[in-house]
Symmetry: C2
Subunit: 352 residues, 2 copies
DNA sequence: TATAATCTCGTGCACGTGCACGTATACGCG
DNA sequence: CGCGTATACGTGCACGTGCACGAGATTATA
């Protein structure tokens, strides 16, 4: 330690109280008179007391909790990867007496989100990791965290506010750009007259959809480089497989030989059966995220390109970063951490 | 801590020795019979004992040392920025009982490098940060670190070996690419028939010059995109100001209206007086690193573009990363950490 | 004023390790 | 056999904090 090693005893002595009282003030757990508290705070100030992290860490009996607020998921889904990363990070920090706990909610039910928030807060976490799926509810929630002084880290996407501790995710807007660039590269401009954008029905009503800015990036690129091109949306219902098939069938018959198809979320596998049954020469399909089913489509040639990332690193790094801060007060070098966007084709998809 | 909290006492008991002996084995500081040591190691193995970091950290009396091996520098030089970053990182980890110490050498004298290495080792560091300026000497040195089990982090550039703990620096090859691309953008191909590359005399004989791969990146780009273009080198002696002036004068008279000039190290300010005295319309000068003198040239219009980075972050992050590993056994998320390459012109150089 | 209830605060142990210190044993030598 | 020395090992304290326990002080109630 530095030479001027000021301990809790020094503070207690100067304030004319015992170290127990100083400790109570430090962790404001009450049972201290206003007068004593003032004296203690004054002494801390005057001496420039800094608690010894190591001693504190050694003496703490119950582990620090890092809480993750995640949507429920089925095997193979995008959020499973996020969950995997959380578990990975949890293992890494387990030896440091940090416990990672997950709180799940239904991503289509704001009420379940709010009740998960309440449950999470009850666990008295020292830090929180969350993707901001419901915008206004998330804003309320992080405001509350802010009040408690609990740092939180966004993953997947982030909101436009300035109190988050860090962010780990894909650069959403740029990924839309990339998607558009890949869709249209080495193609004559007049050839790209219409693009199909397949979207999820329920997402229409979501308060916050992370793919919004990705779509914006895509649109902006197209507007700049292919101003004549029409963008035709088709909404599908993910839980109605036959409905999807029929909808696609109808859509593509109406739109003739439309050969450009993109999808901004991870669910392109919903199109698999239709695309398989209706091959179109020269069709170009670009989508996101390396779910197993999507990778299979890539291998089968029903998908031209998959824009992907190491999803699990988002949550893993978020957890580790948070642990470092909670334990050692170390802030990350960069607040916004963008994952690399990997471009996968059927020829480079192995061993990813 | 986890439930299975195995302490040094448990190990001692199982091995039939005292905790003192176990401690001696753990930190192999000798004074243990081979027989006892074997028993202790067996017990550790069987119990899966993991020392409690916090207790260890609390009990350790003398601080961990992170040693930085840097070239001496004059105020305003590139290495001063690196040094600043080291100091910054040192402040950040000081409260964690980690001490950052610098060992300096003359970057043009391999013997002074070697003696600095010896001095450094004598300080028994827990980790080392270094730019690999002398290739073969550095290789010998890191081999020795390896033997002692001391992790080391490269900054600035790195060697082609695989035992380093991490790397923080600019992507040298790509920065050469970028330089070439910026030099030639929006210029007709037939216009770029010759480029002057100003180099430092003494660097010719250096065993390892970090700018080698930058130059390679530049050359490769030019060979691909401007195969007809001649690349004309001029070597100057940094300590002979008048000689530089004369050499430049002679060189540019001989090479007519050569308008493309690049320099791969941070010393473009050495050209300032000449460039100022001999303005050439349409001349394009691109160089590296935001030293104060270089920034002034940018403002004065004697420099077209400066490719720069936040140099001080290299050493700062290296120190912090190493501290995290030494104290908490946390490895960085990525081993090779490339700084962002910033493109500075006279119009965006403010507040950098 | 006596007694109970509440609030405030001091005491002391536990956390697990590092290391200084001192002791026991073995060995060599005269 | 006595003594010195080197090696091997055990003991005990220090590190600074968290928190349970209970004592003392203050206030409320009868």
């Amino acid at each position: 330690m530095e030479d001027g090693k000021i301990t809790i005893f020094d503070v207690a002595e100067r304030a004319g109280v015992s170290k127990g009282t100083v400790d109570r003030v430090l962790h404001n757990r009450g049972e201290v008179s206003a007068k004593s508290a003032a004296k203690v705070r004054k002494a801390i100030e005057e001496l420039g007391y800094q608690p010894n992290l190591y001693a504190s860490l050694l003496a703490t009996r119950n582990a620090h909790v890092i809480a993750c607020l995640l949507p429920e998921f089925a095997p193979g889904e995008y959020w499973e990867r996020i969950n995997d990363g959380m578990v990975l990070g949890g293992k890494q920090v387990a030896s440091l007496n940090v416990l990672v706990r997950a709180f799940y909610y239904d991503q289509y039910d704001a009420r379940s989100f709010r009740s998960a928030c309440a449950e999470l807060l009850a666990s008295k976490p020292s830090g929180v990791v969350l993707p901001p799926l419901f915008m206004s509810d998330t804003l309320n929630f992080v405001q509350e965290l802010q009040n408690y002084g609990i740092p939180y880290v966004y993953i997947d996407s982030k909101l436009e506010e300035d109190n988050y501790f860090a962010y780990y995710g894909m650069p959403m807007y740029r990924s839309g750009h990339l998607c558009a660039a890949l869709l249209t590269e080495r193609v004559a401009a007049e050839d790209v007259d219409e693009v199909a954008v397949i979207r999820i029905n329920r997402d229409k009503n979501r308060q916050s959809d992370p793919t919004v800015s990705r779509r914006a990036g895509f649109m902006d690129y197209m507007a700049t480089n292919f101003p004549e091109c029409r963008i035709s949306p088709l909404f599908i219902n993910p839980s109605d497989e036959d409905g999807i098939y029929a909808a696609l069938d109808e859509f593509f018959s109406e739109h003739g030989d439309l050969r450009y198809v993109v999808m901004f979320n991870s669910r392109v596998h919903l199109l698999n059966r239709y695309l398989e049954d209706h091959p179109v020469p020269g069709r170009r399909v670009i989508a996101f995220d390396n779910l197993d089913k999507n990778m299979q489509m890539l291998r089968d040639g029903h998908l031209s390109i998959l824009i992907s990332q190491h999803t699990e690193h988002q949550s893993r790094d978020a957890v580790v970063t948070l642990a470092n801060y909670i334990l050692m007060r170390q802030k990350p070098a960069t607040r916004d951490n963008f994952m690399h966007m990997d471009i996968l084709t059927r020829y480079n998809q192995e061993n990813y």
